[in-house]
């Protein structure tokens, strides 16, 4: 088994590059297809772990605090994110409830926990946790299935649709969710595959 850890291949077009140490800390694009090989962010690991912790805490608030309040004449209702998920949980709609639960809660939380599990030992000076490699890989694989930002657009559309028949007030969880989307977007700018994988591979403590 031979491999060269100073070389990386573009996952989109297979071109091989030898990255010098200087290149690893700047932003590099594939010369043929433009794929971002390195993001060139310093302290990527500390930020990814910190932001993952933040989003886990925010998700706790999102789950248990009221999300939206609705008033229509004498009627009032309020819904938490759990209600949104359970609203589907009857009969043939069960799979749909399951899907919504996975896309807006399970996958985002799982990604944060996987990232913390895989990368936190690098910050505290410990050896890699067992299965750290698979954890980090799954954090990347799950990326397109975490749909918090899409859910947020859905909320905005739903608010406009309801606007005509009732007044809607936003609850604590709504703003926690907005913050969560911002934190996740910010985190993505530090998710440099090259930096994270090299750090994990060179952790010899």
């Amino acid at each position: 088994m031979i491999y060269d850890s100073t070389c990386i291949a573009c996952p989109h077009c297979d071109v091989v590059y030898r990255l010098s140490a200087a290149r690893m800390v700047t932003r590099t694009r594939c010369l043929r297809c433009g794929y971002q090989l390195t993001l060139g962010k310093s302290e990527a690991i500390a930020r990814v772990v910190g932001l993952a912790l933040t989003s886990t805490i925010l998700m706790g608030i999102v789950l248990f605090a009221p999300f939206l309040h609705l008033n229509a004449g004498p009627f009032a209702s309020s819904a938490s994110v759990a209600d949104v998920v359970l609203g589907f949980a009857t009969g043939i709609m069960m799979p749909l409830a399951f899907a919504v639960l996975i896309f807006i809660i399970v996958v985002p939380v799982a990604r944060s926990l996987l990232l913390i599990y895989a990368l936190a030992p690098l910050l505290t000076g410990h050896a890699n946790a067992s299965g750290a490699q698979s954890s980090l890989r799954w954090a990347f694989v799950l990326k397109p299935w975490a749909m918090a930002e899409i859910f947020m657009v859905g909320v905005a559309v739903a608010l406009v649709k309801i606007g005509g028949m009732a007044t809607v007030h936003t609850g604590t969880a709504f703003w926690a969710f907005v913050l969560l989307v911002v934190v996740n977007t910010f985190q993505d700018t530090f998710m440099c595959r090259n930096t994270l994988w090299t750090s994990l591979a060179t952790n010899t403590t």
């Binding site: 291949a9 209702s77 949104v84 589907f88 990347f140 299935w145 406009v160 649709k161 028949m165």
Partner: protein, 212 residues
């Protein structure tokens, strides 16, 4: 080669007799089965990529039919029941002069899915035989489909939120329709279809139209 080099002396992992990991970018000798750095399965090109792309695409396409025929929402207002389909919902929004929201739903639930079906089918059929198309253009098409596809899920979430919020017994209540489940599954299947695609295939065909 160093990244500061020129475009004409780019070499692929396969040409160098190596196999690259699409998960972490590591380059290893072709006898390596799983990546020593991230434990992903190493394949020079994904096995049966095009077949799996087409299989998932077909599944997504089949489900997109009931997603448009059955109602997304069943609204009960003052003892009157009203069903609305995806396109019906958009028309209602236009009637109420909610043009921006109507446009968002139309783009997410009609334009993006239909565009995706066409683009994925085009790429899969084109790349299964020699062609002379510019790989840069094909790459942009594939990247766009992978990036935009998940946004189709908007309408499913809208339905979920409306169902959870609008529960006032006789005054008004909203229930999800069968189309919501079909549509969600259709989006999932087309996302899997786009992911099954190996973008390296786009670049394997040289400018003379003959696969290397």
């Amino acid at each position: 080669m160093d990244i500061s080099g020129h475009q004409h002396d780019l070499i692929t992992a396969r040409d160098a007799g190596m196999v690259a990991c699409t998960s972490c970018g590591l380059v290893a000798s072709p006898d390596v089965e799983s990546c020593p750095r991230c434990h992903a399965r190493m394949q020079s090109r994904k096995d049966g990529s095009i077949q799996r792309v087409l299989a998932w695409l077909l599944a997504g396409l089949i489900l997109y039919v009931p997603a448009n025929i059955y109602p997304m929402l069943r609204t009960t207002q003052m003892f009157k029941e009203q069903d609305s389909t995806i396109v019906g919902g958009v028309i209602t929004l236009i009637h109420h002069h909610a043009y921006a929201i109507g446009a968002i739903i139309f783009i997410a639930s009609v334009l993006i899915p239909v565009g995706k079906f066409i683009v994925i089918a085009y790429l899969a059929l084109l790349l299964s035989r020699p062609h002379t198309k510019d790989p840069h253009r094909l790459h942009i098409l594939h990247a766009a489909v992978e990036f935009i596809g998940r946004w189709s899920m908007i309408d499913v979430f809208v339905v979920a939120i409306l169902v959870a919020l609008v529960q006032f017994d006789v005054l008004a209540s909203i229930k999800p329709g069968l189309a919501a489940a079909c549509f969600a599954l259709s989006v999932v299947f087309t996302m899997l279809s786009a992911q099954a695609f190996d973008p390296r295939l786009i670049w394997d065909v040289t400018d003379k139209g003959t696969p290397k």
